[in-house]
């Protein structure tokens, strides 16, 4: 019995049992559906083994949306628990598990893949490339990320979820249940996938741009991904090491973060935030990139201050590595260190401010067209600025002693991350949807969604600033009537519920548009400015039949307005990579490997470790030169697409 007891959940509740049943039924439904419609072969050939950056992108998108709902349900449960004083909906242990899961899922398994979706789908098209530099590695990145996410997501059904916060500070993250093991190992697997993505995209952007596209002629989104990739390459190895230390402490009894024998719990906090703060910029810079594209498209004007936009991003990326200690001003590091980190933190406001002014000036001189993506972008500016201002407040280390670990902080980071990142993702999703699927999302529902999310956001989070200043602590599962926090928290719950309606509307919009939207939209429905809109919709798997030649950062706009010729020359045969099942299968092995480690099942752990090396050996010996698409085939595809 001992053996099975490990997999039991330590704090069962009705909600958990219900979700187990739901998860089981969903799984059965998927398997039955695939079998009934005979789609297994299709799934394997077209998706599980694909190395096409566009399809990999779409798989990232699907994962991100699923995780948005997973994390969203957690958020609603927390807000419901706090809506009234002395609530007993959740007990303290569940609350701990939920805010931990919510934080990890939202940051690592929702926001990250959402960004990587844009990287994958947009960047190669935007630079006029056929694919990413290492398509096979790209597939491996996705599947590693996906398996890491799935591993983390089963924690509440098998063995128990982590409960030490998304920062997982030691000694809180002890080894009492397997929750912290899940944290260390699931994030490790996903993180390796992300690191490989960073390497892949840095190489892609630096080496595979279309002729004529010098660095200073790259579209702003590509610039943001270039810089993001650099940050990933510098930041993620730190996480890898920190997680490895944590794993070893939990599983093998090393003394990195212990309280005796020299161990140093603060070391975890430092390593975590040396990765964690740059991570925030890994999320926000691509969002800035998207806003830049969208704002210049719908202000019908080129981006104001291109060079200062690039410069400010470079500056932000540098500064992001020297501010990490602002996450623990109150943990006894001395006034001098606090002052340094206080100043560097505030310095980030300067380049960020430059960007805000650039967007405002772009809008100022433009002819604004209020599409849904533009609506998100315009709502973003004031809301995000508010978050930025409270960030500067938090950066004052002396004052931070007052609002440290209160709801004020929670309000602040949601205030930057929701209008900053989530809105950008939704704006970008609406913007690129027609390029992906060949029809537009409904504009009316889209605008409703944007307004609902904004109103819901204000109601949900502004009250937290107030209760936070009044002393409502973060991560507290309940409070007494006498604190007077009740009404504000009720408002906050209503706001969260409105946001939930907004998120459901997105799903409805997809459903509605699949059914009713026009399929006759052409390749460039927004009258846009950059290369990704110059190829057909849907995009053929080779992206461009002829490699484009570029003369400015707005290549398509130049082609449309100044008569610049993008595509010169004849069709030539195109070299493409072959599909491969190895990334998927190898990542499945990684899943089992992670599971075995989490539960200290040493024999399966050793077998899977060997299996991983066997895969790498096979890869080393494999000969795979890809294949060519013949000129006739290109001609056929092209004429068919032009006809359609």
């Amino acid at each position: 019995m001992e053996f099975f007891e490990r997999f039991a959940i330590p704090h069962p509740s009705f909600a958990i049992y219900a979700s187990m049943v739901a998860a089981g039924l969903t799984l059965i439904a998927i398997i039955a559906g695939l079998t009934y419609f005979k789609k297994w072969g299709y799934l394997w050939r077209e998706w599980l083994t694909t190395v096409d950056h566009k399809r990999i992108g779409i798989m990232y998108l699907i994962s991100a949306l699923l995780m948005l709902f997973r994390g969203g349900v957690d958020a609603i449960m927390m807000r419901a628990q706090l809506a009234v004083p002395d609530n007993t909906l959740l007990d303290s242990q569940h609350y701990n598990e939920i805010f931990t899961t919510h934080g990890v899922v939202m940051i690592l398994f929702m926001a990250m893949p959402f960004i990587i979706f844009f990287m994958n789908f947009v960047v190669p098209l935007q630079i006029g490339a056929r694919d990413v530099a290492f398509p096979r590695l790209n597939a491996l990145s996705f599947w590693l990320f996906f398996m890491g996410a799935m591993l983390f997501n089963i924690s509440f059904m098998v063995g128990g979820s982590p409960d030490a916060g998304w920062t997982s500070y030691f000694p809180l993250a002890d080894g009492e249940s397997v929750g912290s093991h899940y944290y260390m190992i699931a994030i490790q697997i996903a993180g390796i996938g992300t690191l490989l993505t960073g390497i892949n995209f840095l190489t892609t952007i630096l080496k595979m741009r279309a002729p004529g596209m010098t660095l200073m002629k790259m579209p702003m989104f590509t610039w943001s991904i270039l810089i993001t990739s650099v940050i990933i390459i510098f930041a993620f190895p730190v996480l890898t090491v920190a997680l490895a230390f944590g794993t070893m402490d939990l599983l093998f009894g090393t003394q990195f973060f212990t309280l005796d024998n020299g161990g140093m719990a603060m070391l975890w906090a430092n390593l975590f935030w040396v990765w964690g703060h740059p991570e925030v910029y890994i999320l926000i810079l691509p969002a800035f990139g998207l806003y830049s594209e969208i704002i210049s498209t719908f202000a019908r004007r080129n981006l104001y201050g291109y060079k200062s936009m690039v410069g400010s991003m470079v500056l932000i990326s540098l500064l992001s590595f020297v501010v990490w200690a602002h996450h623990f001003f109150t943990m006894g590091q001395g006034a001098f260190a606090n002052s340094i980190f206080s100043i560097t933190t505030m310095a980030i406001a300067v380049p960020t401010g430059v960007k805000i002014f650039n967007w405002l000036l772009t809008l100022w001189k433009g002819k604004i067209e209020f599409t849904t993506p533009m609506l998100y972008s315009i709502l973003f500016i004031p809301l995000f600025t508010l978050g930025g201002v409270t960030g500067v407040m938090l950066a004052m280390s002396a004052a931070d002693y007052q609002y440290h670990n209160t709801m004020f902080l929670v309000a602040h980071f949601h205030n930057v991350i929701i209008p900053g990142v989530v809105f950008a993702m939704l704006a970008g999703l609406t913007y690129y949807w027609p390029k992906m699927f060949g029809f537009m999302l409904n504009e009316r529902i889209g605008k409703w969604t944007a307004w609902l999310l904004s109103i819901g956001f204000v109601l949900a989070f502004i009250p937290m600033y107030i209760t936070g200043l009044d002393g409502q602590a973060r991560r507290m599962y309940t409070y007494s009537e006498s604190t007077g926090f009740g009404p504000m928290n009720m408002v906050s719950f209503i706001g969260a519920a409105i946001m939930a309606v907004g998120f459901v509307l997105i799903v409805y919009n997809i459903y509605y548009s699949v059914r009713y939207a026009s399929r006759d939209i052409g390749a460039d429905p927004w009258d846009a400015r950059t290369l990704e809109w110059a190829t057909h919709t849907p995009v053929p798997h080779y992206n461009f039949a002829v490699t484009p030649e570029v003369a400015s950062s707005e290549a398509l706009w130049d082609a449309k307005k100044n008569g610049h010729q993008l595509f010169k020359g004849e069709y030539k045969k195109i070299h493409m990579p072959n599909n491969s099942g190895v990334p998927f299968i190898m990542s499945c092995v990684f899943f089992v490997w992670g599971f075995a480690l989490i539960f200290s099942l040493w024999i399966p752990a050793i077998i899977t470790t060997i299996a991983i090396f066997v895969f790498m050996t096979l890869r080393s010996f494999e000969i795979d030169h890809g294949h060519y698409i013949s000129v006739e085939e290109i001609e056929d595809t092209e004429s068919e697409m032009r006809g359609a």
């Binding site: 930041a235 190895p237 230390f245 070893m248 093998f252 003394q255 024998n261 390593l271 080393s620």
Partner: protein, 198 residues
């Protein structure tokens, strides 16, 4: 595949150039990984709890031997790549073989060293200091181990398929990896052993 004969074999195709560039980026990540290990080492080096200090367990002889073996192997792989560029497959395979043999020797000494530490009561669980010491050395050692297999696979491929742009590219990338491990070792030698023994 277009082969540009004016360039060295390892750079002669578009794909090869991408791979080499990508590998440099990967090495950038590896530098960060080891930098984090070193930073942690410096943080924890005096936190020995009730375990031994570095000065108590470090012995110079095996460390000098390891250094000698690894530095020499870095030299021999350089000769191997040189031979490859001259198209001298046999000489190249010899130099690769010597490199791997030296690497194996290094690993042997290191394993012996680990056993001595364990014997002296400096296991990985003893203190924060021994944890980070053995993790840092172990990470480097694991890299060497992977390198031994990788190098062997490449030798087999060169032997079977000859010197093609593909095998040349793999050999060159492997040599970058191997040099990198040597550089990391120099840091380990200076900042862990020498500093610890002073």
């Amino acid at each position: 595949m277009k082969i540009d004969h004016s360039l060295p074999l390892e750079y002669s195709t578009e794909e090869n150039r991408l791979k080499i560039f990508g590998f440099w980026m990967f090495l950038g990540a590896e530098i960060m990984l080891f930098a984090t290990l070193f930073a942690t080492y410096f943080t924890l080096e005096n936190r020995t709890g009730n375990g031994p200090t570095g000065a108590e367990i470090f012995v110079i002889t095996p460390v000098l031997l390891e250094t000698f073996l690894l530095l020499t192997s870095s030299f021999t792989i350089g000769l191997g790549i040189h031979a490859m560029r001259l198209g001298r497959q046999k000489a190249m395979l010899w130099f690769f073989g010597i490199t791997l043999a030296l690497g194996l020797g290094f690993l042997g000494v290191e394993i012996f060293e680990f056993f001595t530490y364990a014997h002296e009561g400096a296991g990985i669980q003893t203190s924060a200091f021994t944890s980070i010491l053995l993790t840092t050395l172990g990470t480097h050692g694991a890299h060497v181990t992977v390198g031994l297999f990788w190098g062997l696979y490449i030798m087999i491929q060169v032997k079977k398929r000859g010197l093609t742009p593909e095998t040349g590219n793999k050999s060159f990338i492997f040599s970058l990896y191997w040099h990198f491990l040597d550089v990391v070792w120099i840091f380990i030698f200076s900042f862990i052993y020498l500093k610890g023994m002073l």
